[in-house]
C-alpha cells in the first residue's frame, strides 16, 4: 500500500494504479466472454456456427482459430488454402457476394500482416469474415479473383497499401498510388507526411522544377512559392 504522505515508502516495483476515470482497465476473462456476444449493435447475420462446422469438416486443420467479438465470427484459416476455402464457401455454402477485402499491419515479429475477407450470402442472410496471416518474409497470398471477380480491385489496393503479392492476380498494378512510387503507405513504419522525393509532383511555378516534397515546411526546408510575395516593409504603411 502506498501512503500519499510519504512517496518514498511505496514500492517502486508495485506502483499504485491511478484511480483515474479514464484509465482503461485490464479486461477480466468474464468480461471478455460478455463482449463476445453482448453488444448493443450485435446482428444475427454475423453468427455462422454451421458454416464454421462445415469448414472444419471439409478442411480440418486448415481452420486455425476461431474468434468472436460483438457477435461477429472470424475464422482464421491457412494462407495457402484460402482459394480452396473461398471456392468451397461459394459453391457449397452460397456465399455469392464478395463485400470486402483488405490488409492489416499488426506490426509483430511473426505473422506481421493479416488479410481479411468479408463474404456475404444473400440467400442465407449471413456474413462471414475469413482471415489469413502473412509473414513479412513471405508476402505471397493466393489471389481469390478467379473465385470472386470483385476481389480484383481490393487485392490491388491491398498490394498497393501493404505490398502483398497476390499470386495469379490478373492485373497486378497499384490501385491508388502511381507505379513509380516505391513504398507501401499503410505499413506502420511509413511516415505520415510521406517520404520526401518519393513522389514527384508537377512544378509549382510555370518554369520550375518538379516538386519533390509537398510538405517541405514540415521537413524543415522552405517551400517553393508559385508567386512572388510582395515585400513586407513595415515603414511603407
Amino acid at each position: 500500500m502506498s501512503k500519499p504522505d510519504d512517496p518514498r515508502a511505496s514500492n517502486p516495483q508495485d506502483p499504485e494504479k491511478l484511480r483515474f476515470h479514464f484509465t482503461p482497465s485490464a479486461d477480466s476473462d468474464s468480461r471478455r466472454d460478455d463482449r463476445a456476444t453482448d453488444n448493443p449493435h450485435a446482428k444475427d447475420t454475423t453468427r455462422v456456427p454451421e458454416v464454421i462446422e462445415a469448414l472444419q469438416d471439409e478442411f480440418g486443420a486448415a481452420v486455425l482459430e476461431l474468434e468472436r467479438y460483438a457477435n461477429e465470427d472470424t475464422v482464421y484459416v491457412e494462407k495457402r488454402r484460402i482459394r480452396e476455402i473461398c471456392r468451397f464457401l461459394r459453391a457449397e455454402e452460397d456465399f455469392d457476394y464478395f463485400a470486402d477485402l483488405g490488409g492489416i499491419d499488426r506490426f509483430t515479429e511473426e505473422d506481421r500482416y493479416e488479410v481479411f475477407y468479408n463474404l456475404v450470402s444473400t440467400e442465407r442472410q449471413k456474413r462471414i469474415r475469413l482471415k489469413v496471416r502473412v509473414d513479412e518474409t513471405d508476402m505471397t497470398v493466393p489471389s481469390v479473383t478467379d473465385v470472386y471477380r470483385a476481389a480484383n480491385w481490393n487485392e490491388r489496393e491491398a498490394y498497393d497499401m501493404f505490398g502483398f503479392e497476390f499470386v495469379d492476380h490478373p492485373d497486378p498494378r497499384r490501385m491508388y498510388m502511381p507505379e513509380d512510387f516505391e513504398y507501401h503507405p499503410l505499413r506502420k513504419e511509413f511516415p505520415q507526411l510521406g517520404v520526401p522525393g518519393s513522389l514527384p509532383l508537377p512544378p509549382q511555378t510555370p518554369d520550375g522544377e518538379l516538386t519533390m516534397d509537398p510538405f517541405a515546411a514540415a521537413h524543415g526546408s522552405k517551400p517553393v512559392k508559385s508567386y512572388d510575395e510582395p515585400s513586407t516593409d513595415p515603414d511603407s504603411e
Binding site: 479514464f22 482503461p24 447475420t45 460483438a70
Partner: protein, 449 residues
Amino acid sequence: MAEKPQFPGHDLGDQFRFWPKHNEKIYERLENKHAWLEEKQAAAQGDGEPPATRKSELDPLENEMILNIGPQHPATHGVLRCVVKLDGETIEKSVLDIGYLHRGIEKLAESKTYQEFMPYTDRMDYLSPYSNNVAWCLAVEKLAGIEVPERAQWIRMIMSELARISSHCLWLGVGMMDAGAVSGFVWTFQEREEIYSIMDEVAGARFTVSHSRIGGVANDLSPRAIEMIRDFIGKFPDRIAGWEGLLNKNRIWIERNKGVGRITKEEALELGVTGPNLRGSGVPYDVRRFEPYLKYDEVDFTIPVREAGDCLARYFLRLDEMKQSVRIIEQCLDRMTEGPIRSDDAKEAYPSKDEVYYSMEGMIHDFMYTDVGTVPPKGAHSYHAIEGPKGELGFYLTSDGTGRPWRVRINAPSFTNLQAMEYMMEGSLVADTVVIIGSIDPVMGEADK
C-alpha cells in the same frame, strides 16, 4: 526519379516527366486486357493477324483509337480517368485509373481519436455527409459497445434519409445534364438547397455537417428544424411527381437510358456491385433489411428492386428510393420519443455544453474525451455497415486498446461500383459513357479514400 519513357516515332516532350511508369502500365494493361479473346478470334480467322488491324487499313472510320477521358472532365463527376480503346465509336476495352483524390484517410485515421476522425468522413462521400457520419459512429459504437439513446437513433435515421434524398437529387440533376437537359439540374438543386437549409438548422453547417457524435448526436432537433423537415417531406413527393412527368415519357431520356450500361443479376453479384446499382439488377440486397441498424426494423418501408439492370432501371429505382425515404422520415417524425440525445457516460460520449461550461467535472470530461476519447478493448475488431445512398458503406475497425484506432478499413461503395463500371463500359458507345458514369453515381472522394 524515373526516366522519361520512349515512345518510338512520337516526341511527347515534357508530357511524361512525372510518373512515366504509371502511364506505361495503364497502356500495357489496356493492350493485354482480354488478349486471350483476341488471340482466339485471330485463330478463328486463320491468320495470326487480329482482324481489327486489317479493317483499319481499309476503312479509316473503323480504326482503333485510344482515348483518355478525364481525370479533368465534367462528365466524370470528379477526378476519374477512363482510358478507353475505341473501335470506331464502340468501346472495346476500358481501364479506369483512380487515385487522383487519394488522401490516405485510412492512414490519417490511425493517428486520430475516434471522434477526431469524424470530419474526414464528411469528405468521403461529400454528397451525403450525414450518412458517413452515422456509419462511422455506428462502427465505433459497435467496437466499443456503446448504447445510443433512442431519440438520437431517430434523429440519425431522419437525417441520413435526408442525406439519401439529397444525394439522389444531385444524381438526378447531373444525370439529366449528362443526357442533355441542363434545366433539370437547377430544379433538383433547389431541393438540395432546402436540405442544406435543414442541415444548417440542425447542425450549423450546410455541407460538411459532422453532426452525429459517438454515443449520440451533437444537439437535438429544434422545433423549427422539425417544422422544416415536415414542410420539406410534405411537398417533396409533388416534386418527384413533377420530375417523373418530365422524364418518364420523355423520348430523349428513355432512349438515352434504356438498355445502356446493362448489367445482369449474375454479373452484378459477381462484380460486387452495391447499392441501387445492385438492386437495379434484381438482387434485393439492402443493408437496412439485411442487418437492420438504428430503428430500420421498426419502420415500414419497401426495398425497390428492378430487374432490367440498365440505366433506366436505376433511374426508376432511385426515384422509388426517394419516395421510400420520405415514408421513413414521416414515420420517424411521428414515432420519435423525447429523451436524451447522447449517452451520459463520460467514457462514451461528450458531455453536454451546459455541463462543460458550468461544472468542473463536465469540463474535465470534455477535456479527457478530446484527449483520449472512447477506448475500445484491446484486440477488438468489428465491422459495421450501413446502406448509404451509394451502397454498402462499412467500416472495419481494429483496436489496440488505446483511444486511437489501430487500423481503419473503409469499404466504400463507389470503389466497388467503379470496378464493375470498367466492365459495363466495354461494348457500349463512347457517347454512352457519360450516361453510364452518371447512373453508376460514383463519388471520387469515397472511391479514392
